[in-house]
């Protein structure tokens, strides 16, 4: 029956990740954005929290905890509250690990999972393609069956940590449906380009990656003979990205709210003016609305029910919401919102990307 109460476990996880975000991520966010890298050791600290290893089965060296998409959404929100660039980096290994947990064959799991259970190791997924009409209904990157294996051709962008990842998950069109492939970075024909220069997410190294007649064995297809439910993997990614957006929006809302209560104009706090107060009220409503839509889609995915429409709409809603919230946060701060002494301009740059992002995180 309808219930919105978190379990005790979920509350504990939420509190743990929230403290980590407060103590470690948020204070590092501005420098990370300016320098284009995160502090050394931060990824390891994230790993210590179990962000990657908790769901890896014990037989492969992990903690074997049951994955829950709802819990994943809660965790992603807290990390996003800290900083989206850093969060995407800490979560990057999951881009390979979680699809393996979802659909990997025993051989595929045995090959990759143990090393990811030990310490932070970069991994990535190549989903987005650099074209104006990119969406996930049809991929321009193709996997053509040949000699019992596949030949991969195409170009991807927004591939996080591609340079330092030894292996990546590549989504490509195989006939009339998308399929996922496990590709070693060192395979002939794989070229990782220059680091991309983006408006936001500056602390996260992303790359264009091209595949030129990359020959893959049949065993490289995720799920082997049986294949994988790529749509489900994409849905799990939509929940992750949407929840990161909700977390960031919450951060921006809180910052604008606190500022508005401090800042005086015409003898009162600007928050005491309806023009500002209503902006803040709308933020609060829309953040809650987006979170509920995401939780519902996450819950459907946990029930293994069809959830594409819900996940697409929830992520879309959150992406539009976070942009508006970040934009309004800048607006509430006025000129102070435009200078880099405050974090809101960073949030606005990061927020704009969510309508473009797909497959860059997973829960």
């Amino acid at each position: 029956m309808f219930d919105l109460e978190l379990t005790e476990d979920q509350k504990l996880v939420q509190e743990t990740v929230a403290s980590f975000a407060r103590a470690e991520i948020r204070p590092a966010a501005r420098d990370a954005d300016e320098t284009g890298s995160i502090p050394s050791g931060l990824a390891d600290k994230g790993f210590e929290l179990g962000l990657v290893s908790s769901a890896i089965p014990e037989e492969h060296g992990g903690f074997g905890e049951q994955r829950s998409t709802v819990t994943g959404a809660i965790v992603a929100e807290e990390l996003g509250w800290g900083d989206v660039s850093i969060a995407l980096q800490l979560l990057a290994p999951r881009l390979l690990v979680y699809p393996l947990l979802e659909a990997g064959t025993p051989e595929q799991r045995a090959k990759y999972l143990p090393s990811f259970a030990q310490s932070f190791r970069a991994a990535t997924a190549a989903v987005v393609e650099p074209r104006i009409d990119f969406d996930t209904t049809q991929f321009a990157t193709t996997a053509t069956p040949e000699n019992g294996g596949f030949v991969l051709n195409g170009t991807k962008c927004f591939v996080p940590l591609a340079e330092e990842s030894e292996a990546m998950l590549v989504i490509a069109q195989q006939g009339d449906a998308p399929a996922a492939f496990l590709v070693d970075r060192a395979s002939p024909g794989v070229t990782v380009g220059e680091r991309e220069k983006n408006m936001g997410l500056k602390a996260l190294a992303t790359y264009e990656v091209s595949f030129e007649s990359v020959r893959l064995p049949a065993a490289a297809r995720l799920g082997g003979e049986r294949g994988a439910d790529v749509e489900r993997v994409l849905n799990l990614s939509r929940i992750a990205l949407g929840s990161l957006a909700v977390g960031m929006a919450r951060g921006a809302f809180e910052y604008a709210r606190d500022y508005a209560k401090e800042r005086k104009a015409f003898g009162v706090a600007i928050a005491q003016k309806q023009a500002i107060a209503f902006i803040l009220a709308e933020m609060a409503i829309e953040i809650d609305a987006a979170r509920l839509l995401l939780w519902e889609a996450a819950w459907l995915l946990d029930q293994a029910r069809p959830a594409s429409r819900e996940a697409i709409l929830a992520k879309r809603y959150a992406s539009n919401m976070v942009l508006k919230v970040a934009d309004n946060a800048v607006q509430v701060l006025g000129g102070h919102g435009y200078v880099r002494d405050h974090p809101v301009e960073l949030w606005l740059r990061n927020a704009r990307g969510f309508t473009s992002f797909e497959g860059m995180a997973i829960v």
Partner: protein, 409 residues
Amino acid sequence: MIDFELSPAIQNSRQMIHMLADQVMRPISREYDEREHEKPTEFLNMMWSVSAGSSFGNAKDSKDSALASGSVKEGNLASCVNIEELSWGDAGLYLTIPNAGLGGAAVLAAGTPEQKQRFLAPFKGGEPKWGAMAITEPHCGSDSAAIQTTAVRDGDQWVLNGTKIYCTSGLMAAEKSDGFVVVWATVDKSAGRAGIKSFVVPAHTPGMKVIKVENKLGIRASDTAMIVFEDCRIPLDNILGSAEVKTSTEGFKGAMATFDATRPLVAASALGIGRAALDFAREALERAGITIRYGLAPSKLTAIERDFMEIESDLHAARLLTWRAAWMMDRGKRNNLEASMAKAKAGLAVTRVTQKAVEFLGPLGYSRKLLLEKWMRDAKINDIFEGTQQINMLIVARRILGYSSKELS
């Protein structure tokens, strides 16, 4: 544990009510929009016979365990789901259904056990009855603290004087049944908010008179009354809550708590109208060969697809906010913030959804041959009554900022 599945009991009642909405309400929907001020007697009698004393259409006492859906406390959520279905059928007709209504909600929120028994028990049988709530006055709406209707104690009676407007089902409650009207009045004008109390005035009480029934944009099947109280005398124990005027505004806050229960219900009605328009528009578009394709690149989407996805998720977001507010009520959690969030969002969402749906259908949408234009007219009231969108935004703003009504007005 997070769970978005409605209980089997709620799902069952939803299914039944949906059938009723589809087969009984929709066929007479246009007729009672056109024949404003006439009552669908057959429908009302039928609804009374199936619903008297049962769960749907009312705020629920969270302490009342004897709910239709069993021992689990989910009465407010059940009401929200049921009201959405009824309003999917017809929001105006839904509002005319005989029950204790908003007056009942006020009794539940502020009445003693004895009062609940005395005023609400008659709604479990006999002839159809209506309860109504009279707050708004010609000079004040959202600013309920400015109420001028007076209640003066005279021996063992209260004497009411004043004029109330926009009282939903006021005619039925005051004169056409043995129901009651809950009237907000001040016992001490100098005390401001602290002096505002609510009183139960039984139907046919001398001195209470309906002098006008409004002509409206929508929800025309429902009567909206202007009621005058002229030396209207009621028993002393018809006051809800304490008669004492405290220096604090406790009493007024208690009265305002009624809205925490009723705002999710109004939001639920908005959802029903919005879903009616959304369902209809989707089918009409499909018949015209236009299906909504989800998950496409921005450059591939048509304007209709983009708009449709926006209103669809807006409406569903409003639904989840509404269910949350009702669920909190059921669990005995304070939901003042969440109830206002739901109401503000749902009122705005339904207004947009219905206006967009008319646009989608081009010239057909504007025609009275279809119900779309009616739904658009019906929808707008949800953005206004039970606290306008703006008043609810103000409440949300005060709560998130920790401001009193003095600090943020």
